[in-house]
């Protein structure tokens, strides 16, 4: 029997798979990027539908419940993506600063 939380997870996974498809169609994702995200969301929905397949791994890791395992995994992803976003924003900020400075100094070169 499918539990309520599984239905929620399923809708969530399918919605994100659709979003990835939309981005691919709008040419905002390349083929590889699209494949990566689709595999990730499909994997996610598969585990939601068949949580039993993670049981061996959960026992190996000494985690009491499947729910705890998903919570830990979720937090790990959140931290990972926050860090990744931080690095990306930093990089963009630096590039933006360089570009704006370059543009401002062009005014000086005209005078020299």
């Amino acid at each position: 029997m499918i539990l309520g939380i599984q239905i929620l997870g399923l809708i969530f996974g399918l919605f994100l798979a659709y979003l990835s498809f939309l981005h691919y169609k709008r040419r905002e994702f390349g083929k590889l990027q699209f494949l990566f995200w689709e595999i990730l969301w499909m994997g996610f929905t598969f585990i939601i539908l068949f949580p039993g397949i993670t049981e061996t791994l959960i026992q190996e890791l000494n985690i009491a419940r499947a729910m705890d395992f998903f919570m830990i995994l979720g937090f790990m992803f959140l931290v990972l993506f926050t860090f990744y976003n931080y690095l990306t924003i930093n990089k963009i900020k630096q590039k933006l600063e360089e570009k704006v400075r370059e543009e401002a100094l062009k005014g000086l070169e005209k005078k020299l």
């Binding site: 900020k93 600063e97 704006v100 400075r101 543009e103 401002a104 100094l105 000086l108 005078k111 020299l112």
Partner: protein, 219 residues
């Protein structure tokens, strides 16, 4: 000595004209960098003759603006660079005194320090005192005020103090780099006029910059 004064400015249309006029009594080597102001700061500065006015197309922050100004000063062949605020808080005479001190005592950098007395708004004064104590201790230098925007340094020292900070934390980063690179520094008591108590750093900025300082020091 070829002294170039750099004025980073953001939304300072009310004061920029007066700051430039006062400075022009002492030097014409002035660079104003407008940091994408939403008011007429850029146009006001542009109307002043014999100075260089640059503009950031978007607002980046005081650190980034000062850096643009310093790089322009180097291109103009500066030996000594002065950083001064655009809000008419500083007295141009002090810039000259600091430049003289720099040359006479053969220093790398001279920091303008304010008297942390009753003239300074209460919260700013106490926040500054605490921040100054902590930063002095960690940077390995000794200054009476770590948050003044007025400083004069040799162009040759610039690569050693060149900051990464794009915001107000450039002040603390310069101190940290001064201590780290064992530069010859000194301080000079400057006059300060508080035109707007709401401008500049607030208590949250102080906390943010202290954490930024820790990051730069230890990471």
């Amino acid at each position: 000595m070829n002294l170039v004064v750099v004025i980073p400015a953001y939304n300072e249309e009310k004061t920029i004209g007066e700051v430039i006029s006062e400075l022009k009594k002492y030097t014409h080597n002035i660079i104003v960098v407008d940091d994408g102001s939403r008011d007429n700061t850029y146009l006001k500065a542009k109307t002043m003759n014999d100075i260089t006015v640059l503009r950031h197309k978007i607002n980046l922050g005081k650190g980034a603006t000062s850096k643009t100004g310093c790089e322009a000063a180097l291109k103009l062949g500066a030996d000594v660079i002065a950083l001064i605020d655009a809000d008419n808080q500083h007295v141009p005479e002090d810039v000259m005194k600091m430049a003289e001190k720099l040359e006479k005592e053969n220093l790398d950098i001279v920091f303008g320090v304010r008297l942390l007395d009753e003239k300074m708004p209460f919260l700013k004064r106490w926040g500054n005192k605490m921040l100054t104590k902590m930063i002095n201790c960690l940077a390995g230098i000794s200054l009476a005020d770590t948050q003044s925007g007025l400083k004069v340094f040799k162009a040759s020292a610039y690569p050693k103090i060149a900051w990464d900070a794009s915001d107000y934390s450039l002040e603390t980063e310069i101190m940290l780099r001064t201590g780290k690179n064992k530069l010859k520094y000194s301080q000079l008591l400057i006059q300060t006029v508080y035109n707007d108590t709401f401008k500049g750093m607030d208590i949250f900025d102080g906390i943010k910059y202290f954490f930024n300082f820790l990051r730069q020091k230890f990471l």
